[in-house]
Symmetry: C2
Subunit: 66 residues, 2 copies
DNA sequence: ATTAAAAGTAAAACAAGTTTTACATATAGA
DNA sequence: TCTATATGTAAAACTTGTTTTACTTTTAAT
């Protein structure tokens, strides 16, 4: 699974810290997600999608390996 | 956060075990999700949404308390 | 070149998701 | 009523997500 969080942040001109604060997680959580260190919870995915006003599927993309 | 998994299973005439097997988790994981015992990973959410051919947001719904 | 802000990284601790095994309860059909 | 299938539940073990603290590196602007 990959994700577009970095791009969406750029579009919305947000730092990792900004995004972290908006959705109520630590900055390291955002950083680790962007670096594909781990798969976030559905709660985080929904909050991020809501914030960026796009579907979860447009941010988090399933890959063949999943 | 709540979810419609039970309804979607009914629409697709699947048991908890069926769904579990299709997306590669244990039956207890499906049961626990339906009973709101915990929030699944985004990977699971995407797989379930793909299987039912509807958006993640139509299955997992944010609530005010989230 | 220096500085400030942003991003990357790492380890320990803690919280939460998932599996496994096992049993109890419910439901529908024979 | 008996039986098979589906669902609910629980505890232990394991895996993974998340936080906290703290430090390093990068980037962009001065």
């Amino acid at each position: 699974m990959k994700n577009n969080i970095k791009v969406q942040r750029a579009i919305h001109d947000m730092t990792q810290a900004d995004l972290a604060e908006k959705i109520g997680v630590s900055r390291q959580t955002i950083n680790a997600m962007e670096k594909n260190k781990y798969v976030p919870s559905t709660l985080l995915a929904l909050k991020i999608a809501k914030l960026f006003k796009i579907p979860v599927e447009d941010i988090f993309i399933l890959e063949n390996s999943d």
